[in-house]
């Protein structure tokens, strides 16, 4: 009973490590090929599919989150008569944490799953095999543009997310609830440090971009070539990406804004 359990745990552990190894090799091999100038067209097309097509969901969610955050901050701060510093709280929380994390999660659900499904289907219908048999490496032609597109898109989407969320915050906090607009913006300007708040948030977004596109591409490439296999791989992409984003975010926050204990 216990032995059986341990055995399965061991197998799961080994499979996990071997998958991680294969995924790393795959990633390195795919990234090696690009960027070549000939591939700019491929990259642009993926940027459109992965990035531009995600803008809608990012904008809608950002506005809603900015609005609701503003609402919460305002009611809490109003207890201390500090409702005019809504802008400060909003900006710091968004730039440092919620911007990259929420954008990453949305990106995994919108673009990551699509990448996995597309590559998985190409594998199932032997399009990857036939491409390889023509002497064209699918790692360079299919995987690499998607990896780069994900890596570039996520920071840009995070920028859009932050801007729209702050706009949502202004609409609710200033125009609706009536916080003072002047101190909203000046408070934000004084409190936000370009590197410490904005820069580090962008680095997080870049890391999440690498993670999500890596997971999505590997899951698609490694999917069992059946309908059920693709569906399982798509689910795994979303689940693994979300866990990876949240766990990495915690580690990055510890490293970037450390010294919490002292």
């Amino acid at each position: 009973m216990t032995r059986d359990y341990l055995r399965r745990l061991g197998i799961a552990g080994l499979t996990g490590f071997s998958n991680l190894g294969r995924a790393t090799v795959l990633w390195a091999r795919a990234m090696w090929g690009l960027p070549r100038w000939a591939d700019v067209g491929l990259l642009t097309r993926q940027m459109y599919q992965v990035g531009v097509q995600s803008i809608m969901i990012i904008v809608l969610s950002a506005f809603a989150i900015g609005a609701v955050l503003s609402l919460q901050f305002y009611t809490q701060l109003a207890n201390f008569g500090a409702q005019d510093s809504v802008g400060v709280g909003l900006a710091l929380v968004l730039l440092r944490e919620l911007g990259p994390v929420v954008t990453g999660l949305l990106f995994a659900g919108r673009a990551g799953s699509a990448i996995t499904a597309e590559i998985g289907l190409m594998k199932t219908t032997e399009q990857l095999s036939s491409m390889a048999m023509m002497g064209v490496d699918p790692l360079h032609r299919v995987l690499a543009p998607r990896l780069w597109a994900g890596m570039i898109s996520l920071p840009l989407l995070t920028l859009i997310f932050n801007a729209i969320a702050i706009f949502g915050g202004v609409v609710v906090g200033v125009h609706w609830l009536g916080a003072d607009e002047g101190s909203f913006w000046s408070g934000m300007q004084n409190a936000v440090d370009i590197w410490n708040d904005f820069g580090k948030g962008m680095i997080k977004a870049l890391v999440f971009g690498v993670l999500v596109s890596w997971i999505a591409v590997f899951q698609g490439y490694d999917a069992e070539p059946t309908a059920a296999g693709i569906s399982a791989a798509t689910t795994r992409t979303v689940v693994l990406s979300s866990i990876a984003i949240l766990a990495t975010d915690f580690v990055l926050t510890l490293g970037m804004y450390g010294n919490f204990g002292s």
Binding site: M122, T125, E126, Q127, S129, S130, M131, A132, M133, M134, G135, V136, D137, R141
Partner: protein
């Protein structure tokens, strides 16, 4: 090997799980001729093509293509070698996000520096050869199975490779298209001296076109030679296959339990 052969296979062994697919196969595919691989469904004909193309690694043995051992080539060398090999997949495997024209143009765009106008001419020429010049703007999802197969054929021959492997090119073709494909394959091998390796179940067509036939069954090469000699081959299993008889030493069924036992299950 007395002849000049493009592909030389020796001592090939391969299994999938417990199932032995190839149990020691030696064969030599002559250069510039049409060779056919035949055998019961599931014997591993497709697998053999994949091994020759370097996509599947055998457990043991040597596979030389144009003098290179495909199992020992690096990834880069393998992709270089494949530029000279065309393969028609059993499933056609067209790129679903590209039109018919772009599918056929794909290898040209990837491997040549040709001008757009030259690419256009070549693509239309290849599509014309398979009778689908008018279908160039369709997407693969708008093609019938037989049409998709002919587009895939046009794509496989786009670069005029030295070796073309056809995995069942005749399935789903009407008699007219069939005749056109046969003469196309024959013409390419005669005029361009392309080596053709053909997998097919259509015995009459294959016999009419092939210079050599290799007969696989049960993981072994059971016979090879020109069509005439195979027809007159003394062995019973060769006779059974060449004349399409269900009863004989070659089993029709995938290995299984006794039928009665399977159907009646536990009740016996």
């Amino acid at each position: 090997m007395d002849q000049d052969s493009l592909i030389e296979i020796s001592g090939l062994r391969f299994s999938r799980g417990d199932r032995v697919i190839f149990d020691g196969i030696d064969m030599a595919i002559p250069r510039g001729q049409i060779s056919a691989i035949m055998g019961p469904s599931g014997t591993g004909k497709t697998t053999l093509l994949r091994i020759i193309g370097g996509e599947v690694k055998p457990d043991a043995g040597e596979v030389l293509v144009g003098g290179y051992d495909v199992c020992r080539l690096s990834r880069g060398e393998l992709f270089e070698l494949r530029k000279d090999i065309g393969m028609l997949f059993q499933s056609s495997a067209l790129f679903t996000d590209m039109s018919v024209f772009e599918n056929v143009a794909f290898p040209l765009r990837e491997h040549t520096e040709l001008e757009e106008s030259a690419i256009r001419d070549l693509v239309l020429m290849k599509l014309n050869a398979v009778g689908l010049r008018g279908a160039r703007d369709l997407m693969p999802s708008e093609l019938s199975g037989g049409m998709a197969r002919r587009v895939a054929l046009a794509r496989a021959i786009a670069l005029d490779p030295a070796l073309i492997m056809y995995d069942e090119p005749f399935t789903g073709q009407d008699p007219i298209a069939m005749g056109v494909l046969l003469s196309l394959i024959r013409r390419m091998s005669q005029a361009l001296e392309i080596t053709s390796l053909l997998v097919s179940h259509d015995i009459h067509e294959t016999v009419s076109i092939a210079d050599n036939i290799f007969l696989l069954a049960d993981g072994k090469l059971i016979a090879h030679g020109d069509p005439q000699s195979l027809r007159e081959h003394p062995a019973q299993d060769v006779q059974q296959f060449m004349h399409g008889e269900p009863d004989g030493p070659v089993p029709f069924h995938y290995p299984s339990d006794d039928y009665m036992f399977d159907v009646l299950g536990n009740s016996v």
